[in-house]
Symmetry: C2
Subunit: 397 residues, 2 copies
Amino acid sequence: MSNELKVTGFRFAATAAGLKKSGKPDMALIVSAVPAVAAGVFTTNKVVAAPVLLSQPRIAAGRCQAILVNAGNANACTGAPGLADARQCGDLAAIALGIAPELVAVSSTGVIGHRLDVSKFVTAVPRLVAALDDDQIEAVAAAIMTTDAFPKMVAAYGCAGGRDYTLLAVAKGAGMIHPNMATMLAFVVTDADLSPEFADQVLRRAVDRSFNRITVDRDTSTNDMVLLLANGQAQTPCIVGDSEAGEEFGRLLDEILLDLAKMIVRDGEGATKLVRILVRGALSDADARLAAMSVATSSLVKTALFGEDANWGRIIAAVGYSGAEVNPDLVDIFAGDVMLVQSGLGTGPELEAVATDVMRQPEFTLTVDLHLGSGTSDYYTSDLTYDYIKINADYRS
Amino acid sequence: MSNELKVTGFRFAATAAGLKKSGKPDMALIVSAVPAVAAGVFTTNKVVAAPVLLSQPRIAAGRCQAILVNAGNANACTGAPGLADARQCGDLAAIALGIAPELVAVSSTGVIGHRLDVSKFVTAVPRLVAALDDDQIEAVAAAIMTTDAFPKMVAAYGCAGGRDYTLLAVAKGAGMIHPNMATMLAFVVTDADLSPEFADQVLRRAVDRSFNRITVDRDTSTNDMVLLLANGQAQTPCIVGDSEAGEEFGRLLDEILLDLAKMIVRDGEGATKLVRILVRGALSDADARLAAMSVATSSLVKTALFGEDANWGRIIAAVGYSGAEVNPDLVDIFAGDVMLVQSGLGTGPELEAVATDVMRQPEFTLTVDLHLGSGTSDYYTSDLTYDYIKINADYRS
C-alpha cells in the first residue's frame, strides 16, 4: 500500500457484513481523529432515503467525525422504521468510537424498499472500528461499489502557509449515461483546515462542475450524497474563500471530483465509451448546458455512439429540442477535430468516414458550435449498449 | 379490400420510388376531390425539416387538397436547397393533379442530412397520380413505414345532421418509449364538413390526448406532423365547436388518435410490452402528467419492465424527481389491481410475486396514487430492450 494514499488524522476500514448477496465487502467506516469541518451535497429527489434524512441536518451543523456507509441496501422507502434503523446504525458507530452520535454520518446504497438488517451492523461495526487503519481507503472504495466495475479513488496534494496537505476521495456510481436513480456517493477527506463557509461553498461549486455535468438534476436517486471532511491535521492555516490558498484548494477539489465523475461515466453500466459533449457559441452558458445535456442524454445519440455511427442528425435534433436558442443554419459539429456539419449541412461522406474513425476510439469529444454567442458548457456521457439493458433488467434477480 | 376503408371524395396511392434501400414502397399520395378544410400540428423542435417549413404555412392558410409523403429520407438539415427540393416535389404533385401548389402538403421521414433525390419524385409522382384509387389507404400506411413493424391505420364512423361520415387515419412511428427524434407522422381524412376553427381546435385537443401522451414535448423530431383534412363530401352540415355534432366528432377523433398512439407504443423499437402509467391523486392534472411522464420515460423503469421485475423503487424514485408534489409516505402503487406499495412501503414478497405475474402480460397498467388531490393523467410506454439498442445502433448501417 503506497504512502500516498494516506491523509493525516484519518483512518479507514471495510468489511463484508453480509448485505451484498455476493458476500463481497459491503460496509465501510471513515473516521477522523478529531471532529472535522463538514460540508455535504444531497439528493434533490423528493423521495429521500433514511440515511439522507439522518445525515443532512448533522452535516448542516458543520461538524462530522465519522462516516458509516453500506452497499447492498439503500434503506430508502422504509418509512419511520427505516429512519430508526439508520439512527441505530449511526449510534452503533458512535458508541464503538466513543463519540457523539451527531458526529456520525450514515450513507447507504443498494436496493430500495427493504428494511436494513441492523443485526448485521451490530456484528460488523465493532469489527470495523477494530480494523481502522490509515492505509485502508482502497478497501473503502471497493466496499461501496454496487454495479461498479472498478473502485474509484483519487488523491491530490496542495500547500497552504508552507504546510502540505492531502485530499483523498472515493466515489461509487455506474448507472450513468442517463443516470436516473443510480445512486452516486462520494466522500472527500482532507487534512487541510477549512472554514465551514468555504468548505460548503467550494464543495457545491466542485459538484456542479463535475457530478452535475454527468447527471441530470431531475434524475437524482433517493440516496445521492457527497461529503467533504476537513480535519485540519496538516496544521495548515484556516483556508477561506477569496484567497490564494482557497483558489488552490478549489482547483484541486474541482480536479478530483471531475476525475471521479469521469470514472463514473467510464464505468457507466454497460458503457464502452467516454464521450465529452462540448457546446460552444451558445447565447449563454446556461443555453450551452441545456444543449450539451440534451445531446448527452439522448438515447438515440447514445445508441449511435455504441454503433460508432456519425449520425449527426440525431445530435442536431437533440440540440433542437433542448430548449436552447439555436439557428440550424449556423450549427457546426465536430467529432474530435473532424468537421462533420458546417452551417447546418453535412460535410459529406469523406469527412464522415474520418469522423467514424474518431468515434471508434474509446474516448473522444463531440463539439457543437452554435455560433450565436460565447456560452460554453460540457457534459460527459457514455454509449447505450446491450449490457446496459442486461444489467438493469436483471438487477434484482 | 373492404368497403369500410373508403371515405367519400378521397383517393390514395403508394409506390416504391427507390428512396428506401430495401426497395419497399416509400412514397404515397392522398388526394381530396375538392380543397379540404385543413388543420395541422407540427414539431416543436427548433431544427425543422424542409417539408415542415413548406407545409406549415400552407396548412395554416386553412385549405389542403393533397398530401405527398415519402419515407427513406427526412429532407432535414438540408438548408435552402432542401427547401427548394421540397417545394419542387410539391409542385410536381400540383402539376400532375392540376391544382394550385399551395394546396399540396409535403411530408418526409427517414435519415437526416441527405439531399432528397428529386429525380425519383419526377418519375414516381405521375405514377402515383395515375394509380389513385379510393381503396388504397392501406398501401399508404405501408409506404410511410420506416422502422415500424406493422402499418398503422384506423377508421371511425359518425353521423351529423342525419348524414353518416367517416374518419380514416394512418400513422407511422416506432421509435417510441422515449421517442426522442423518431419521426411521428399521422394523416386523418374525413368526409365530414368542419369549420376551420373547429378542425384546428379538435385536432390540437386530440393530439394532446394521444400522441402527446406517448411523447415528451422536448423529444420531438425535426419532421413530426399530424394533418387533418375534412372535405365535406358526406354532405354533413358544417360541424362547429360547442355542439352535439362537434362533441361526437371530437370523441371519435380522440379515439382514433389514441388507438394510433397505442399502436405506435406497441410497435416501439424492440418493445415487447405496452404499459399504461396512470397517476391519480396528484395535486393537479399537470402534476399527475409530470409524474406519469417521468415514470414512463425512465430508462431504469423501462428496463425493469423488460425484466418483468416489480422494482417499485425505480417507480417511486422517478415520481420523486418528476417535479410533481409528492409525499412519499402517502404513495400507493399498483401493478394491475395488485397493491405493490402502500403508504410508501412495499407490501411484501407475496404481493410482489403476484405483481410480477401481472408484469409478465404483454399489456397492463401501473397505477401510482399520490393521495394529495384529484389530479389524474396517464402515459403509455413500452419496455427498453436489447432490440432497441440493436435497431438504433445499426439504423444507418
